[in-house]
């Protein structure tokens, strides 16, 4: 039985608390009276996930027939699945996608379905490498489909591979992958790491084009999503739901399969990351010292490759299949059950220790824009109800924030950082002045389609993710960040957490209330 998360009030006997700092960690001693949010412990995994998947396919949720009855000889079947951005870190084999897709293919084979295509629903993300696909899908699937050109990656810039299904009543274009739209059955296989994932967002975003995505990936939507983790109050999701319903109304039959993971995020060598500090045993302390002291002496590049090689032991905690909305309602409950932590009241200052990974730098570099996106876009939005920090409060991020970019994965990020942010950091201004030029740039488009680059517009979206936090908080301080990189983004830089807290006092006044968001594992603050 896993213990729930809770809020600890720091007193004299509270040991220093762990704080991520990129490819490393720090121990913080917070002022007495500060609060630390501790996440719930990992929930129990499914004892027999393969059987659970099979049962989910046979007994679907909502208005949907069992999968075997939907499989007919001569039909066109498309199986779409989440891309490299999920889960984080990449999970140990077998990945949920492999388990589920193998089960779906078993049913398809029993039904005599020949025309099957697999599509990686990557939207405007970079394409997955063959090794990454092989890891996610397993050898059996990869070897059966990839050599015959039946394992595709969605191309949001290929007009011939897209189909415009219409406009929503809000005037939103719905343009998605043609093969998926024209199949007799589209099976979507999802991994729900956080409450934001899944639902209609899977198809309406994952298989969409820029023309379609721009309706909900914009500053206004981001500023009106309070938060992304609460679909009932998320403009991003409302837009996706409208699109999803239009897709269904257009005759696209979607059989949604959603899986959730527990938060058993790191292997045993990093077990201390998931424990409460006062429960660290001798082994945990020795591991922490060995790892943190070694990392201090490890070159950045080596440290990055060490961390990026980590495969997470998290396990499937639930699986449900059927009609999209019915499935997603259950999935969301499972995610909340794992991640929600009750918090009473907001705080003047919130501290986020940022890890080495976010959805967009798997096997890559966490560049400054992604640091901002992770802290202000993701961590800030990990709330339900109200943001953890009060309006006009201060966000303190801890990350080295190096001025470093992966030129293969993030080519447009470099220009965005050098050119756009040098001009302005205002998301509204950026959207108005620069977005279209980057989105339609032929070189970025070429790299996105043929290399492993994120789409030209992607860094804009990352900056838009920050819009709600930038609108809400009065200051952002990055502890230990590269000075120039931090200043380029319009934030302040502090050498130590103590300095950062003193700087925060200039904004929020003396003796501020402080809350540390203790991550990993992942949690959502349910702020009352």
């Amino acid at each position: 039985m896993s213990r729930p998360g809770f809020v600890l009030e720091v007193d004299r006997s509270t040991p220093p608390t762990l704080c991520w700092h990129g490819e490393g960690f720090k121990l913080l001693r917070l002022p007495e009276g500060s609060r630390i949010l501790y996440p719930p412990e990992p929930v129990d995994a499914l004892k027999d996930p393969d059987d659970a998947i099979r049962q989910a396919l046979l007994h679907p949720e909502g208005d949907m027939a069992p999968l075997p009855t939907l499989m007919k000889a001569g039909m066109r079947l498309t199986i779409a699945f989440d891309d490299i951005s999920l889960p984080l870190p990449p999970m140990e084999r077998p990945d949920n996608r492999q388990r589920v897709i193998e089960a779906v293919l078993d049913v398809a084979a029993e039904g005599g379905v020949d025309d099957v295509v697999l599509i990686c629903a990557l939207a405007l993300h970079r394409r997955m490498t063959p090794a990454e696909l092989r890891h996610a899908l397993g050898d059996r699937i990869y070897d059966a489909f990839a050599p015959h050109g039946l394992l595709l990656q969605h191309d949001a810039e290929d007009p011939s591979a897209l189909v415009h299904l219409g406009r929503t009543d809000h005037g939103e274009d719905v343009e998605i992958n043609r093969r998926a739209a024209e199949s007799d059955l589209l099976v979507y296989v999802n991994i729900n790491l956080v409450a934001m994932d899944g639902g209609h967002k899977s198809v309406a975003t994952g298989l969409a084009s820029y023309k379609s995505l721009r309706h909900h990936h914009n500053v206004r939507t981001m500023q009106h999503s309070r938060s992304f983790m609460d679909q009932t109050r998320s403009e991003l999701h409302t837009s996706n739901w409208r699109m999803g319903r239009l897709i269904a109304a257009s005759g696209v039959k979607v059989f949604q399969i959603e899986t959730t993971l527990n938060t058993d995020t790191f292997p045993s060598a990093f077990g201390f990351l998931q424990k409460r500090e006062w429960e660290w045993g001798a082994r945990d302390r020795a591991s922490f010292l060995a790892v943190s002291k070694s990392l201090e002496r490890t070159p950045d590049r080596l440290a990055r490759s060490i961390f990026q090689s980590i495969k997470s032991p998290h396990k499937m905690s639930s699986v449900q299949a059927g009609e999209v909305e019915a499935v997603h309602a259950i999935t969301t409950e499972h995610v909340y059950r794992q991640q929600l932590v009750d918090v009473e009241g907001q705080t003047d200052v919130v501290i986020f220790g940022l890890p080495y990974i976010c959805p967009y730098n798997v096997n890559s570099i966490m560049n400054p824009i992604l640091v901002a996106c992770l802290g202000l876009g993701y961590f800030f939005n990990l709330y339900r109800g109200k943001p953890l920090v009060r309006p006009g409060g201060v966000l303190i991020l801890s990350h080295p924030t190096p001025w470093a970019f992966n030129p293969v994965h993030h080519p447009s990020y470099i220009d965005f950082f050098e050119e756009v942010l040098a001009d302005t950091t205002d998301p509204v201004e950026i959207e108005k002045t620069y977005e279209e030029r980057f989105a339609t740039d032929d070189w970025y488009r070429h790299l996105y389609r043929t290399s492993y680059a994120y789409h030209g517009v992607h860094p804009f979206y990352m900056w838009y993710w920050c819009a709600h936090a930038l609108d809400h908080a009065a200051g952002v301080i990055i502890v230990g960040g590269d000075t120039k990189a931090v200043h380029r983004m319009g934030f302040k830089r502090a050498s130590t957490m103590r300095d950062a807290l003193e700087m925060a006092e200039d904004i929020v006044g003396r003796d501020p209330s402080i809350t540390h968001f203790h991550c990993p594992p992942m949690m959502i603050a349910d702020v009352h």
């Binding site: 600890l8 007193d11 004299r12 040991p15 006062w278 660290w280 302390r285 010292l289």
Partner: protein, 310 residues
């Protein structure tokens, strides 16, 4: 130079978490610590090859010579065990802490280093250091003696099945007054369950070496008599076997006090004196016990100053 000023000593004294154990936040309730003592103490490590090897050294080099020095045992009846070549349950009366090392020291070689000792979980395993000490030195396993405990019984049974012999004191503790105590059925139950033979052993004189509540060790002579193995038959009731074991010890005690033939005849006639002594008041039981003082102690007493020393 004082230790405080030694190089590194100051840094060591200033060490904090994570170099030291973390403190526990005052606002967090401590969960009940997982019980790793008492019957829950894990003794597997004490039966590892390394620990066994080290124990052989300690037993042969320290424990056995020391027990022989203090208790000077005379051992009878070992010939009754010659046909035995299997794990057995040794049951003995219990008067002193020295019983265990003494008995382990006189066991034939084939059992001496393959025997575990059933020790009271509440007494020998209530502190970590005590548990580790007794698990190592005498190969003790925790036995719940205050109530029935499946875990400790299962552990003993599994060890017997695995080829270990067991030394157990069915009285459940040392005698408080010198007379024997009523046997508990644990040894018999284990024998019935595992079909291992029970070897009764009567130990006389160890109370003079170190009595219960005594704080001085005295030199004395002791006698140890091994009885004939008792084998549980198919369908044997554990309570019947427990009575047989208790009766066998009575007969061995009688054999020591008289002779084998006399003891046999009394046993046949059902008039063997019970080790538990007369059912009478405390002083009469003490009176009936007599003064069983061995020759070595008698000579020691002779050298002691008389009281009052005028």
């Amino acid at each position: 130079m004082s230790i405080r000023n030694a190089p590194g000593a100051r840094a060591l004294s200033r060490a904090t978490f994570p170099w030291t154990t973390p403190t526990w936040p005052g606002t967090v309730e401590r969960p009940p610590a997982p019980n790793t003592l008492g019957v829950d103490y894990q003794t597997e490590w004490a039966r590892s090859y390394g620990a066994r090897l080290a124990r052989v050294v300690v037993t042969e080099g320290v424990t056995r010579p020391l027990a022989h020095l203090l208790a000077a045992p005379r051992v009878d009846g070992l010939d009754r065990l010659e046909q035995l070549d299997e794990p057995v349950i040794f049951t003995a009366n219990h008067a002193s802490h020295i019983d265990t090392p003494l008995l382990l020291g006189v066991l034939p070689d084939r059992w001496r280093h393959r025997t575990v000792v059933a020790a009271g979980a509440d007494y020998f395993f209530d502190r970590r250091w005590k548990a580790a000490f007794f698990a190592f030195t005498i190969n003790a396993i925790p036995i719940e003696r205050l109530r029935v405990n499946r875990r400790s019984a299962n552990l003993a049974a599994s060890l017997l099945d695995d080829g270990w012999s067991l030394l157990i004191f069915p009285e459940g503790g040392r005698t408080p007054d010198g007379w024997g105590q009523t046997h508990r059925p644990g040894a018999a139950w284990l024998s019935v369950r595992t079909q291992r033979p029970v070897v009764p052993i009567y130990v006389e004189g160890t109370r003079r070496v170190l009595p219960r509540h005594g704080n001085r060790v005295r030199l004395a002579t002791t006698r140890i008599t091994f009885g004939k193995p008792l084998r549980p038959r198919e369908g044997t009731d554990a309570r019947d076997l427990a009575s047989q074991i208790e009766g066998a010890l009575d007969v061995l005690a009688d054999e020591q006090q008289s002779d084998w033939w006399t003891a046999r005849r009394r046993a046949a006639g059902g008039v063997t004196p019970a080790l538990t002594g007369p059912s009478a008041s405390t002083w009469r039981r003490a009176w009936a016990l007599g003064d069983h003082v061995g020759p070595r102690e008698r000579s020691r007493r002779h050298r002691e100053p008389r009281w009052p020393d005028l």
